[in-house]
């Protein structure tokens, strides 16, 4: 690459941090590099190279594809299909009414029942989703936030009904409400009581469902909203600290809760850079280990391990020439594996258009299987460790994460910045800036602003929601309401309200209403009377 003056022009490149990128790196870029301090072996503090010593040689990453169908039955079928095809973990998506605590028969829910995911109105629906699937044999990931306490309680009740001890349940519940105010909009209550509910789930899992990741702090949605690759990690860490503070307040020890924290972080995107994405995840492991040790005084090794799953970004995929997206997803997946991800969910090539088709989901799974079984990329832990370039970049990324987290703190904390809309505005601005670079051609997107084809290849089979879905769900909800004892529902909800008023952990008080067949909407309405509703800042 390096040419003598006059031989060839060198294309200037800047990193996401704004620093110029050299044509190559060497020992001079890493003066006084101390292996033990900066890297150490995989599985050893500060875990830069990975949280486990043997990584994929012992167990491959979990291959998980986000999956939500319109009804409990179709979700159950899809789950069985995926398990049969070698998927090793389930991932459940919910429709929007379920995510924001509305029943299928509530007026605001009208247009969204059974779209984007499954509709869950009562425990009956949950029992159908997991019918014939032993909960002690699988791990399930729930993409749910505002109504996470209810979904957790339902999963526990289904396990008990199957005779499975909740202490054996494995999986992850997203339970990260703060990023919803920033990016995805499925909030219900104001931030303060919402943070309290996040704490309830974490505190409850610590004691009763210890193998379950009680929280998955997500940088993915923040990145889709316009955060750059480093911000997506730094903001997730700042948010995680809010939840940690909430649980520590209750007298729980850091070593009891830190091991339950996991992160879901993005790989890819419109402004993707392969090495930057890897470096900032290696940097995040080192930053987190030091933060939890030095700031919170954790002693347990597991507390210091920054565990993350990754999501291959849908935002980096294009509507133009959609098969190109398989190539993009493959490169994202490779970056995720080089980063030491524990679980990977890849965006599908057709998801710009609709919920992914079976073919698209299977292809994303096959991409992961090809990487795992055909290519050798999973044979050695942290294969990029020691690369002059990657280590230099990792140092720079760690410094940047630290700078962002400290800046947020000195600006009054992330909760305040969410309430007044400051973060939302900044990220939307950044998203606009990237869009303009693509529009102007300054940033290349293959098939979009270069290498275009005349005829768009938009004809492909696309998954369609069954129009009968809503009616079926409404009939089922009606039947549940007719068969239950309303007196039991009301008294159980009263107990819940009293517990919420006292400030108790609400999880133990959700079981009785759910068993009495109280609906998600009824439970949320009960809590709204105590907690209130969020008022969104709408200034753009």
């Amino acid at each position: 690459m390096a040419k003598k003056t006059g031989e060839a022009e060198v294309r200037p490149v800047a990193s996401i941090l704004g620093t110029p990128v050299n044509c190559f790196y060497g020992p001079g870029d890493l003066p006084n590099f101390d292996y033990a301090e900066k890297l150490n072996d995989p599985g050893e503090y500060p875990f830069t190279r990975g949280v486990y010593s043997t990584m994929y040689r012992s167990s491959l990453w979990t291959m998980r594809q986000y999956s939500g169908q319109s009804t409990p039955e179709s979700t159950n079928e899809r789950f069985k299909y995926l398990l049969k095809n070698g998927q090793t973990g389930l991932s459940l998506a919910f429709d929007l009414p379920t995510q924001i605590g509305l029943d299928s028969d509530m007026p605001l829910a009208e247009d969204d029942v059974g779209k984007l995911g499954v509709a869950v109105d009562s425990l009956d629906d949950f029992e159908r989703i997991f019918d014939g699937i032993s909960l002690d044999q699988i791990s399930t990931s729930f993409t749910i936030n505002a109504t996470a306490p209810i979904i957790l309680a339902m999963y526990i009740l289904v396990a008990e009904k199957q005779g499975v001890d909740p202490k054996k349940l494995r999986g992850t519940i997203q339970n990260d409400i703060l990023k919803e105010y920033i990016a995805r909009g499925t909030w219900i209550f104001p931030p303060e009581p919402s943070i309290k509910l996040v704490g309830d789930v974490v505190a409850y899992c610590t004691k009763e469902v210890p193998r379950f990741n009680a929280i998955s702090v997500s940088g993915t949605h923040i990145r889709e909203y316009g955060a750059d690759t480093v911000q997506s990690v730094a903001l997730a860490i700042a948010i995680a600290e809010v939840y940690i503070g909430e649980v520590l307040k209750r007298g729980v020890q850091i070593d009891e809760i830190a091991p339950l924290f996991s992160f879901h972080l993005p790989i890819g995107g419109r402004d993707f850079n392969f090495f930057e994405d890897i470096a900032r995840l290696r940097a995040a492991r080192r930053y987190w280990a030091r933060l939890i040790k030095e700031k919170y005084g954790a002693l347990d090794k597991r507390s210091l391990q920054f565990r993350f799953s990754t999501g291959g970004m849908g935002g980096g995929l294009t509507a133009e020439q959609p098969l190109n997206n398989i190539a993009r997803a493959t490169i994202y997946a490779m970056a995720a594996v080089f980063s030491g991800t524990r679980s990977l969910n890849l965006a599908c090539f057709d998801e710009v258009y609709a919920i992914p088709s079976d073919l698209a989901i299977r292809t994303s799974l096959r991409v992961q299987q090809i990487l795992a079984f055909e290519t050798g990329v999973a044979d050695v832990v942290d294969p990029l460790g020691g690369s002059y370039y990657v280590e230099k970049l990792t140092d720079e990324m760690e410094a940047k994460i630290s700078e962002i987290v400290e800046k947020i703190e000195s600006d009054g904390g992330i909760v305040k910045m969410i309430e007044n809309g400051a973060i939302q505005r900044e990220l939307a601005r950044q998203s606009y800036a990237i869009q303009k670079k693509i529009s102007s051609g300054e940033k290349t997107l293959v098939g979009v602003n270069r290498f275009k084809v005349a005829e768009e290849e938009r004809d492909m089979e696309i998954y369609k929601t069954d129009p009968e879905t809503k009616n079926r769900q409404l009939r089922r909800l009606q039947a549940v309401k007719e068969s239950r004892d309303k007196g039991n529902v009301d008294s159980a909800l009263k107990e819940l309200a009293a517990a919420a008023r006292r400030g108790d952990n609400v999880i133990p008080y959700l079981f009785e209403p759910l068993k009495a067949r109280a609906t998600v909407g009824e439970i949320i309405d009960t809590l709204k009377e105590i907690y209130g509703t969020f008022r969104e800042p709408t200034t753009v």
């Binding site: 929007l96 247009d111 984007l116 990016a183 710009v352 258009y353 609709a354 938009r458 929601t465 709408t538």
Partner: protein, 138 residues
């Protein structure tokens, strides 16, 4: 028809979909193009949006939906617009919209449909070309 009057646009999120960064990116773009843009915020009903459109005398209503609920919401919006006699307002839909649905939306009376990944230039040019200022057209 071309006029010098400032074009007024209402960008709306109808239904429960909370993905609004695309809507915000469009707002920035249209403002840069000299338009006045109002944003409704999330979880609006068709009725609320039409009332704001009337009160603010907008020339354009742009609805962003990424949740797949565009067809039913579009039909309700068109009905409400007719009821409230907002005939001159240009109505646009954007978001996760499959190709087959673009035709369906246009048949319902949606003037322009811009699926995710549409070019910002196309949207602003479409507005400039098609917006009607009632009084000028007589």
């Amino acid at each position: 028809m071309e006029t010098n009057k400032t074009i007024r646009v209402l960008i709306a999120k109808i239904g429960l979909d909370g993905h609004d960064v695309g809507a915000k990116v469009l707002i920035f773009w249209l403002r840069d193009k000299g338009m006045e843009v109002i944003y409704t915020g999330l979880r609006q009903s068709v009725e609320q949006v039409v009332e704001v459109a009337l009160q603010e005398a907008v020339d354009v209503i742009g609805v962003s939906i990424l949740s797949g609920s565009h067809l039913s919401i579009a039909q309700k919006l068109i009905n409400r617009i007719r009821e409230r006699e907002l005939d001159d307002v240009l109505v646009l839909f954007g978001g996760t919209i499959p190709k087959d649905d673009i035709r369906a939306l246009k048949e319902m009376g949606i003037h322009g449909v811009f699926p995710s990944h549409s070019k910002l230039e196309e949207i602003s040019a479409f507005i400039q070309r098609n917006v009607k200022h009632g009084e000028e057209d007589g």
